[in-house]
Amino acid sequence: MNFINNITRVTSLLGIASLLLAYTTNVSHSGSNPNPQGVNKMKSGYHWATAPTREMQDDDFSNPAFLWVDIGSEQWTTKDGEAGKSCASCHSGVETMKGVAATYPKYSAEDGKLRAVQHQINNCRTQQMKAKPWKWESDNMLGVAALVKNQSKGMPIKVKVTGEAQPFYNKGKKSYMLRRGGLDMSCKNCHMDYTDTRIRANILSNGLGNGFPTYRLKWQKIGSLHRRFRGCNKNVRATPFKSGSDVYTNLELFLTAHAMGMEIETPSVRN
């Protein structure tokens, strides 16, 4: 009987080997186009949102996320820190941010790793304004991040995944494929293998970040993409990583590259 047991194990190892092969053929991205299947195969979470949720997002006056965009606008011109500066002191009007968020996360030579928009905001605060960094999930941070990303609304995502960004993209991809938690599931298991499929009351989307920060009805407030990652990790009974951590920022680049060319929707509304 043990012999048979071992045969079963060897067979499943063969399975694992072919699985690894399948990953490299299906998901390996080459050159400057990390999305060879074409953008049209990937859809924004908006596609799966219910009609009332979409309506809420479509009208800036009914979209509750704009409460935070307004907080962001106020912060944009509020002086803080020892240098006595605000965002506007260096960047003038927020419309100068048009197109900027479409290129994030982005490699920073100064940090030797990726920066998400939030990292860049805190870098401006500590280096230029000599002010304290904001917490990732604070109203001010969410507000300014949503305001900056909103300036790129309707513009195509255009992140760099080659050159210095490549190792971080590769790490993000590996992390996306890795099974975690008591349920031992990867992001891929749900968002690639079973897109468009009902998992109890939810229909699985491509799990993209093009609408973040998003107002989530379940949260009753706006929240970051990294907060969403933490939620998906906890749902599979995995210990989440910290918001703003390298792991989540690399993961964010991988997701964003998947949505290459897709329009930015920030601030979106989701269930």
């Binding site: 079963t8 194990r9 190892l13």
Partner: protein, 148 residues
């Protein structure tokens, strides 16, 4: 025994059996695509099994499978409909499927319900299987009543 360990080490999976020994997971023997012997020797209770299949903190089978439980809304579509599964599969086949579906399909999304997961498991769930041995037997007893 030593044969098993040596072969296990060669193929690099010996770690699974040694970890099983230190947790609440019961040992079992796989024969072909089945686990022929009950994990506990105590017959499963189909009434408990039905409750465990619905319970989101236990089997939560409904998350992924449709089942003949009309009083529950929103059955999942990730896995096959389990109506009639009792006619398609024997208890021995169902047992391996529930204990460790990855032995049959390493790429499956279906959790291994009686195997200890190792990567970044939340503290609360560390070292524990999703379902206990008797809970597995209860669910088998229930789903094998689902005849077509």
């Amino acid at each position: 025994m030593s044969y098993r360990l040596i072969l296990g080490a060669i193929v690099g999976v010996a770690v699974f059996s040694s970890l099983l020994a230190s947790s609440n997971a019961h040992d079992y023997i796989v024969v072909d695509d089945t686990i022929p012997v009950s994990l506990t020797g105590v017959p499963g209770d189909p009434v408990k099994g039905k409750k465990l299949s619905v319970n989101r903190k236990k089997g939560n089978c409904l998350a992924c499978h449709a089942m003949p439980i009309p009083e529950q809304q929103f059955h999942g579509e990730v896995g096959p409909d389990l109506s009639g599964v009792g006619s398609r599969m024997t208890q021995a086949e169902l047992r391996l499927r529930l204990v460790n579906s990855k032995a049959l399909n390493p790429d499956t999304i279906m959790p291994a319900f009686h195997k200890v997961a190792l990567n970044r498991v939340l503290k609360k769930f560390k070292g524990k299987t999703i379902l206990g041995a008797q809970e597995i037997e209860d669910i088998i007893a229930y789903i094998s009543t689902l005849k077509s």
